[in-house]
């Protein structure tokens, strides 16, 4: 039977997940293999080197760079206080002094007899990495971090902004095709992740922030609103580091688009449970997509996972979603994968598949314009 490979986003009711939690620099791992951890628990910590300031002492003291050590009151590696004199030159039998005061508290990292420059480093900045999800430590990466294993529901979004956060899931609309506006946002939503159906408005995001929500999951969003939310036009899709006070995960894309029914159902079924979400998106090779993890450690694990795996590729009968207009967002089944090239309306000749939409309509469309939905 013909088959083809196409990218797809995962929407799983219950699956095994592994989250690798790494420090940006080597440090100390605080957990051991087999430890049960909660999403807020610290699993590794380190101290990032502080910021560096340079100071050309030779220039300031009007001396040769090679003579620098003679004029230093502090050595390389010494701790220094802000305002402390670290070098000094004397002239006219000690009558006149020129001094160099440290502009920061920290240490003297290097002294160069070539450039006459001192590099002063501020105190280290502590950094901690949490488990992010409730689970069990399945591996420890020495001095780097740990892998946390968990079971639960898992949904990959298509685009997001804002970093990792967690909260109780709360569905605030009646169905996947209902847009999320300011009217749907409850007055109080402290620590909650709000779930909408179709497009979320900027007004809804503002109100959700005011109500104390930590995240929003919705089908679509307007590019104009994204610009308002970020304060600038997003050029390259590398997100996750924004400090917006809320994390946004889009499951479908931009514009008036309903959330996939299955995604909405899955989120509704899990209402009230803890959801760990991350809006970080990187649309470059080595892509990172936003995600929603709903840990369910107590649920019985299946012996073997059923359903169709994305890695098997498209086959006749595969469930797909159309990801380009016309009919953007519609769902259907593959009914054929003909090998010959077919001309589209714009005359482009492409490899196609035949798809039968849930509405009953059947037609060919480029294989590149569908994504597979895991069943």
């Amino acid at each position: 039977m013909a088959h083809a490979y196409t990218p797809g986003l995962r929407v799983s009711e219950f699956t095994l997940l592994e989250k690798v939690r790494r420090l940006p620099l080597l440090g100390e791992v605080t957990v051991e293999v087999g430890d049960k951890v909660t999403h807020e628990q610290v699993v590794a910590r380190t101290r990032l080197p502080g910021d560096v300031q340079s100071m050309n002492i030779a220039h300031r003291l009007s001396i040769e760079a090679s003579d620098l050590p003679r004029y230093m009151l502090k050595e390389q590696g010494d701790e220094i206080e802000k305002g402390e004199v670290i070098a000094e030159s004397k002239s006219f039998f000690g009558l006149f002094k020129t001094t160099c005061d440290s502009p920061i508290r920290g240490t003297i990292e290097t002294l160069s007899t070539v450039t006459g420059q001192a590099l002063l480093r501020e105190p280290p900045i502590p950094v901690e990495v949490t488990a992010y999800v409730d689970g069990v430590v399945s591996a420890v990466h020495e001095e780097e971090g740990a892998t946390i294993q968990t079971w639960g529901a898992f949904i990959q979004g298509i685009f997001g902004v804002g970093g990792e956060t967690s909260g109780k899931l709360r569905v605030v609309v009646d169905g996947p095709g209902v847009g999320l506006t300011g009217d749907n946002i409850p007055d109080r939503a402290e620590g909650e992740i709000l779930v909408g159906g179709a497009r979320v408005t900027m007004e809804a995001i503002d109100q959700a922030r005011k109500a104390g929500a930590r995240g929003i999951i919705a089908g679509g969003f307007d590019d104009e609103d994204l610009k308002t939310l970020l304060g600038h036009d997003l050029g390259v899709a590398i997100t996750g580091h924004e400090n917006l006070g809320i994390t946004l995960v889009l499951t479908e894309g931009f514009g008036e688009i309903s959330m996939a029914e299955r995604t909405f159902e899955l989120l509704s079924e899990n209402e009230g449970l803890l959801a760990c979400i991350n809006g970080a998106t990187q649309i470059r090779a080595g892509v990172i997509r936003p995600e929603i993890v709903i840990p369910k450690l107590d649920q019985e694990k299946p012996a073997a996972s059923g359903g169709e795996s994305l890695s098997l590729g498209l086959r006749e009968g595969s469930r797909v979603r159309i990801i380009r207009e016309p009919n953007f967002g519609s769902l259907g089944h593959v009914t054929g994968l003909p090998p010959e090239l077919v001309a589209m309306e714009c005359e482009t000749k492409v490899r196609v598949l035949r798809v039968k939409l849930d509405s009953g309509e059947e037609y060919p469309l480029p294989r590149a314009n569908v994504e597979m939905i895991e069943t």
Partner: protein, 627 residues
């Protein structure tokens, strides 16, 4: 061909950021020809996270289309035996974000720029250029190094025997930043030092043990000369050793290929240089991809000693592309500049959302004509912006003392003048999905002309099915027993299957009032006979004339304020090649090139242009669309 030919079949892939393209080349009789081509989405993304999956899919398509067995399970069969498998498999890659580098020099306009050219020529994306005079304070530079997390750093500075202090100053900043690479904590960041040889010891003391330090010859040993090859070779070597080895699936892919995987832009640059060298012409090439747009130029210049010299330059616009970077094109070009190429009303909100959806699902392709026209409008702007960047970097060496005569004082020519001179350009070659896969060749011709605005008489061509990268890496095969055949295969396929000659564009430089004559042509076009026509400012017209051994000959007579290459108002004798779209006379003006601001006037202006070339379905015209 001799009996001892080693290569009978070649499989070559290019793993792009969006699509993996595979071509099968076969020896047929006395020559090598392209047999079939296949493609599949690149699979560095989850759930696959393994580039070889996309390669196998593309090769599977080649297998299906050619009927030749190439795969044994998940292995490419080599060498060929009884018509099964291929003799050699080679590959290029720009997936994984390509090679992202930072470069540093002492003076930004001198060693900084030389380092940038070395990195760009090796196929890298230059994320930033650090220099002692870059206007930033030391802590800002350190912060920048830390934040960008490059794959590699090229450190240069000082001529041999020149400043040591300033070179060490830059080295100190790099050491203080303790840069980590984007590929993880275990990845030892490669740093290449190609600066003043007197400072090597200091640099070694500063950086040894903190990174994977390589030291090569100074890339600017004296002010008057660049020596970029050692640095470029080191970049290629480290790209394989470090960067590729950490990208998903590349360790496996590296084992499959007979020669090292080459960065895609490096391979395209090689082919561009080959074209220029073989024909002794000046060439501009552009490769517009999903994430980046590369512009290459080779200019034939004369040295002081009267010898011919080929000046090669490559620039990469890291965030101008048709899928991953499409939103950035919109952000940089601005919406009005994109919309000026769209001949129908479109809801702006809808357009912005569509462009974003292309960015987040980069492998999708247009189905409707309207969608196609919007993508081609964006492509024009991406190409235009990339060319502006190229013109700014393709310049002569700065800081070189020049002897001037009295006459030179009137020219005001400074060191660092751009090599780009559109009147001297012989051929403009386009490559990349949006150009190579345009349903009608006329669309590619229009995009190239609108973005690059060729002047005088310029040939226009496209890579037929986007295979320059594969031919580039093939021409670089250095294995002794294969080298000769591989080069011959690259040249054969390039001449016979790769380049599609679209035609010749005749564009008088100047501007005038509508209704005023700007050009008169007298041409003898083989197959069509003699043509004698006068053109008024704003006219566009196409004369059908297929590419072949015969040329159209005659004279072009510009009006007083227009220049066709011989000077304002001066006639020029020409010998012109044909192409799929024939001879395109474009009298829309140059310097400046103005697009009407009034919406109705603008739509009519675009339609005149697209009608003349019969670029889109449903248009009646004098010319063939050249499918």
């Amino acid at each position: 061909m001799s009996e001892d030919t080693k290569l009978k079949s070649i499989l070559a892939t290019d793993c792009g950021s969006t699509t993996t393209k595979a071509i099968l080349i076969e020896k047929r009789g006395d020559e090598y020809r392209l047999a079939v081509r296949g493609e599949a989405p690149t699979t560095v993304e989850a759930p696959f996270e393994d580039v070889t999956r996309g390669v196998l899919n593309a090769v599977g398509e080649v297998e299906e289309l050619s009927g030749r067995k190439l795969l044994d399970g998940e292995t490419i069969i080599t060498p060929e035996k009884d018509g099964v498998g291929v003799d050699v498999y080679v590959s290029t890659s720009s997936a994984g974000g390509g090679l992202q580098m930072m470069v540093a020099g002492v003076v930004k306009q001198m060693t900084g720029e030389s380092a940038e050219r070395a990195a760009l020529g090796a196929g890298a994306i230059v994320m930033d250029v650090l220099a002692t005079n870059d206007g930033r304070r030391p802590h800002e530079r350190i912060e920048r190094i830390r934040r960008l997390r490059p794959d590699m750093i090229l450190l240069s500075g000082g001529t041999d025997g020149g400043t040591v202090e300033k070179v060490v100053e830059i080295g100190e900043l790099v050491a203080a930043a303790r840069p980590t690479a984007r590929l993880g904590a275990q990845y030892e960041l490669p740093i290449i030092y190609a600066g003043n040889k007197e400072a090597r010891k200091n640099i070694e003391e500063l950086l040894s043990g903190k990174c994977a330090l390589s030291i090569v010859d100074n890339l600017r040993p004296v002010l008057e000369r660049e020596n970029l090859k050692p640095a470029r070779d080191a970049i290629h070597e480290l790209f394989m050793e470090h960067v590729m080895a950490h990208a998903p699936g590349y360790k496996k892919l590296m084992k499959w290929t007979r020669v090292p995987i080459m960065p895609t832009p490096g391979a395209v640059g090689l082919i561009m240089q080959t074209i220029a060298h073989l024909e002794n012409i000046s060439v501009i090439g552009v490769d517009i991809g999903g994430a980046t747009t590369d512009v290459f130029s080779v200019w034939q210049e004369e040295t002081k000693e009267g010898e011919r010299e080929e000046i090669f330059n490559r620039t990469v616009s890291a965030n101008l592309g048709m899928s991953y970077s499409v939103s950035n094109v919109l952000a940089e070009a601005t919406l009005p500049n994109v919309l000026r190429w769209v001949p129908f009303d479109i809801d702006v909100r809808d357009l912005r959302n569509r462009i974003r959806n292309k960015m987040i699902r980069p492998t999708t392709i247009p189905q409707s004509l309207e969608s196609l026209m919007v993508e081609q409008a964006i492509a024009r702007e991406a190409l235009r912006l990339a060319f502006i960047q190229h013109t700014a970097l393709a310049v002569g060496l700065k800081g070189v003392q020049q002897q001037r005569t009295i006459a030179d004082t009137f020219k005001q020519a400074e060191g660092g003048h751009t090599h780009v001179d559109m009147q001297k350009l012989d051929i403009l070659v386009g490559s990349g999905g949006v150009l190579s896969h345009a349903p009608r060749r006329a669309q590619a011709a229009m995009m190239l002309i609108d973005a690059f605005l060729p002047e005088g008489v310029t040939r226009i061509a496209v890579d037929s099915i986007f295979m320059m990268p594969q031919l580039g890496v093939l021409s670089a095969v250095e294995t002794p027993e294969l080298q000769q055949d591989a080069k011959r295969a690259a040249v054969d396929v390039f001449n016979k299957d790769c380049l599609i000659h679209l035609g010749t564009c005749i564009s008088p430089v100047g501007t005038g009032k509508p209704g005023k004559q700007c050009l008169e042509i007298e041409l003898d076009i083989p197959g069509s006979g003699k043509v004698h026509e006068k053109f008024i400012f704003g006219d566009v017209k196409v004369f059908p004339f297929e590419f072949g051994p015969e040329h159209a000959t005659g004279v072009l007579k510009p009006s007083r304020h227009f220049d066709i290459g011989a000077g304002p108002g001066k006639a020029r004798e020409v010998s012109i090649e044909g192409g799929v779209n024939g001879i395109i006379v474009d009298c829309r003006g140059r310097r400046p090139f103005n697009v009407p601001e009034d919406a109705t006037e603008r739509v009519a202006w675009i339609n005149r242009w697209t009608d003349a070339l019969n670029a889109y379905p449903g248009q009646s015209s004098q010319a063939g669309g050249g499918k």
